[in-house]
């Protein structure tokens, strides 16, 4: 189609379909710059195991700050030109970082494990790094630096207070003084970016306490006003500023596209323009270089839940593994079975997170629960397949174990992390699971100082809690299909061997030791056979071994029977342990890792010739 013909069509869209704002915005873009779609270039600039998206791009677009997780969480710089990495501050736990507009400094959050909170540090990017503390306050549990003002005097920070309030603040780069601009709900912004003149700060925020979807706002740095820049029912994520445009990503046109909103003098000056129809999947913007190139990235591994039939008498699969959940492909993990084995639930790590429940026989997704939570670390389907108990973080910022309301996904606390002694190191609760009858929830309580772990039981009807076992180390648990026993890994101290114990879940508390490790061994509990045998993997002490390595033993809780070794033959199956065994023992469910999806991309030549002014 010729340019003149295209121009006529775009003009018709603008004239005749004014109510279709997205189409009109796209047409205006084409009319303004007919070559925009042809010249915009998106390309990968960094892939591989080191990729991390906690950092930011330098103004010249050459350096990217990142957390070097393989180097114990060091703050590091990746040179996109040479591909080389260099460490700025080793031996710690860096997180969010941002490079100053003159490219000379980097500000970064640094986790202080001894007091269980973050501080902000500064380091030089040329010469001696000289890392130094800029901000530390016992009342601020988390602080994330996102951007610098052009004059280098202030750093935009996201804050989490000790009461879990999220705040937007300005941190003086000179003396560490903190000015709080705005308090939000318990969830903060994904990123923040100063306008080029440094007078405004753009950020995104959840549309409400009950919403996962975000909108974009611009607040004056003197606190005098705020503008709701992009408020609509779509997912809108702030990406930065360029050439008079406030850039944001939005799914308003179906896929996550990049849009530019003319913004000047504290006001939106016109409709948003579509700049790039589909950015693909990403976690956050890493900033915009002086040349107007947008950097963004994502990390992770594609994951799917599969099931396979298994014969425990031979240890062999009875058929090839198959994907059981054909929706949200690439993001599914944490499988769990219903009591009757007809349903499988899992966690789809998407935005927002979804917990699908699939009928294993038909493959039909029976329901999807959207947990009203910030993060779900693990999800366990209830025995009746109606809901889940989850480990994670609720929208109030509380870590803990939550029961989800089946209809709404509301997170009802079962147990939340607490700091009863005010030590700054809260006791954590995690590793939840159901009793076989669905009337109780089991979970682990881990002391903040690491001195002990307690295996807890909570009765959902009465709310009564009781401690079933306490020791230096307790591992994850597996409840037997008949609900009578709970298998658990247990250790008396850091140096002592680990024991596999079966805890009586009914009536009088009784603990039976099934196995004790020898030197060079580790153990993992995979589940139970239908005959009441705990399936215990005895593994060489070597992380990263695939399932099936080491030995697999069936260890009966019934003392009259003897343990037997199973010779598993999973046909080269590369599954991520543990294997989740169906209640009848006929199937295993597991997570299969796909390829790495970690990458940093750059988008160039996407800006219209004229900006927002």
């Amino acid at each position: 189609m010729g340019d003149s013909q295209s121009r006529k069509l775009f003009e018709r869209v603008v004239k005749e379909y004014p109510d279709q704002k997205d189409a009109v915005a796209a047409a205006r873009l084409r009319l303004e710059d007919p070559n925009a779609a042809k010249t915009a270039l998106q390309r990968q600039v960094w892939t591989g195991p080191k990729v991390d998206v906690y950092g930011s791009i330098s103004p010249d677009g050459r350096l990217l700050s990142f957390v070097d997780w393989a180097n114990h969480g060091a703050l590091a710089i990746h040179d996109l030109t040479s591909g080389e990495n260099r460490t700025v501050e080793p031996g710690g736990e860096a997180e969010y970082s941002t490079i100053s507009k003159d490219g000379k400094l980097v500000a970064y959050s640094w986790f202080k494990r001894d007091v269980w909170r973050y501080e902000v540090r500064l380091a030089n990017l040329t010469g001696d790094a000289k890392p130094r503390r800029l901000f530390d306050n016992p009342e601020v549990s988390d602080i994330e630096p996102y951007d610098w003002t052009p004059d280098g005097k202030w750093i935009a920070v996201g804050i989490k207070r000790a009461d879990r309030t999220a705040q937007i603040g300005l941190l003086s780069a000179e003396n560490g003084t903190l000015k709080v601009l705005k308090s939000a709900d318990w969830r903060g912004s994904t990123r923040m970016f100063f306008s080029p003149d440094g007078q405004y700060l753009a950020y995104d925020m959840a549309a409400g306490d009950g919403e996962a979807q975000r909108d974009v706002y611009v607040i004056a740095v003197d606190g005098s006003r705020e503008t709701a820049a992009v408020v609509d029912p779509n997912q809108d994520i702030v990406m930065g500023w360029a050439r008079g445009l406030l850039l944001f990503a939005s799914d308003r046109s179906g896929s996550m596209g990049l849009w530019g909103l003319p913004f000047h003098d504290a006001k939106v000056q016109g409709p948003a323009q579509l700049l790039k129809a589909d950015l693909g999947t990403f976690e956050s913007s890493l900033g915009i270089s002086n040349s107007g190139a947008l950097f963004f990235g994502r990390t992770g591994v594609a994951r799917n839940v599969q099931i396979a039939g298994i014969d425990w008498s031979t240890g062999r699969l009875t058929g090839p593994p198959a994907d059981v959940i054909r929706k949200f492909v690439g993001s599914n993990s944490s499988p769990s079975w219903s009591r009757d084995g007809r349903y499988l639930g899992c966690r789809s790590l998407r935005d927002p997170i979804v917990l699908p429940v699939v009928n294993v026989e038909t493959g039909k997704i029976e329901r999807e629960i959207r947990p009203r939570m910030s993060f779900v670390a693990a999800a366990h389907l209830s025995p009746d397949a109606r809901t889940f108990v989850v480990d994670g973080t609720d929208w109030k910022g509380r870590l803990g174990v939550f029961l989800l309301a089946p209809d709404t996904g509301d997170a009802i606390p079962v147990a939340v992390s607490d700091d009863p002694n005010g030590s700054g190191k809260p006791d954590q609760v995690t590793n939840s699971d159901w009793s076989a009858d669905g009337k109780k929830i089991y979970y682990l309580k881990i002391s903040g100082n690491g001195a002990w772990r307690a295996f807890m039981e909570k009765d959902l009807a009465s709310g009564a809690e009781r401690e079933l076992l306490r020791n230096w180390r307790l591992g994850s648990m597996r409840v037997s299909p008949d609900g009578k026993w709970i298998a658990m890994v247990n250790a008396d101290s850091a140096d002592s061997p680990k024991a596999v114990v079966a805890i009586s879940a009914t009536g009088v508390q009784r603990i039976k030791e099934l196995y004790r490790t020898k030197a060079g061994e580790d153990v993992r509990i995979d589940g139970w056979t239908p005959d009441g045998e705990a399936l215990v993997g005895i593994l060489p002490v070597s992380p990263g071994k695939p399932a099936g390595s080491g030995e697999l033993w069936a260890m009966p809780a019934d003392e009259s029977r003897t343990a037997r070794k199973i010779e598993p033959d999973f046909g080269g199956l590369q599954a991520v342990p543990p294997l989740i065994i169906s209640p009848d023992g006929q199937y295993i469910a597991f997570v299969k890792n796909g390829p790495s999806i970690s990458e940093v991309s750059v988008l160039e030549n996407f800006l219209p010739k004229s900006g927002g002014k």
């Binding site: 705040q167 709080v180 601009l181 705005k182 306490d209 606190g223 607490d418 700091d419 009863p420 709310g463």
Partner: protein, 281 residues
Amino acid sequence: MLLLAAIAIPLGLDLYLPVPEENPLTAEKIELGRRLFFDRRLSRDGSLACASCHDPERAYSDGRSVAVGVSGRIGRRNSPALINRGYGRLFFWDGRAASLEEQVLLPIQDSDEMNLSLAEASARVGLAPGEISHALATFVRSILSGNSRFDQFVNGDRNALSAEEQAGLQLFRGKANCTACHVGPNFTDERLHNTGIAWRDGRFADSGAGHGDFKTPTLREIARTAPYMHDGSLATLNAVVEYYNRGGNGNPQLDPELHPLHLSEGEKRNLIQFLRSLSTR
């Protein structure tokens, strides 16, 4: 910019105070609103002003269980403290107003409160209803409470709270689960919750926003705003802590955050000590 010139934001509150575009905050409007706030002409019989139920000496509450309107009419609910309402998102105990501009006109017209039509109010004070609304809302928006000993503590003065108060703060954030609702600089999530306080004899004496739920009030200046709860049914902070310690009044819509707290007597004392640190005098 106008905002910053008109009022100072005290320590502990957000620098950004939301102000509607159509009602900018000016010193002149604050003063006009202040005069209207104390103007008894805004009640039918000239006996009451806004300040009659929102006394500055009581942090803009009135010390009664429930409000008393013109001709001694007894209201249903406690007069809430008008503290930091400029940061609010819901107004009235049941959250039925979405802005201060909307809220300030309703008590004037309520037959159990000031019982005056807007037309008559307008005629009496010589201002259009919109001007009354804007001025009163602006004045209420200027009522700020911060810089308490708690604020000084979180801002770095670690001696601003006593050991008992610090222990109470720890309980507030932890075992007592207060921050499930009383969160942020203004100690409220601005949401509606059923705490069971309206549940009497198997039914709601007041259904609030529909399910016995009422807006979380601020805790700033709480030592000066007794009695407590939407109906003023708890006379002291001790009674409030005892109420929550037993998990509230069980009812079908009770907020799931409420459960027995099992606080010891010492813990209750510390919690109350901390709550008192939120008042500026």
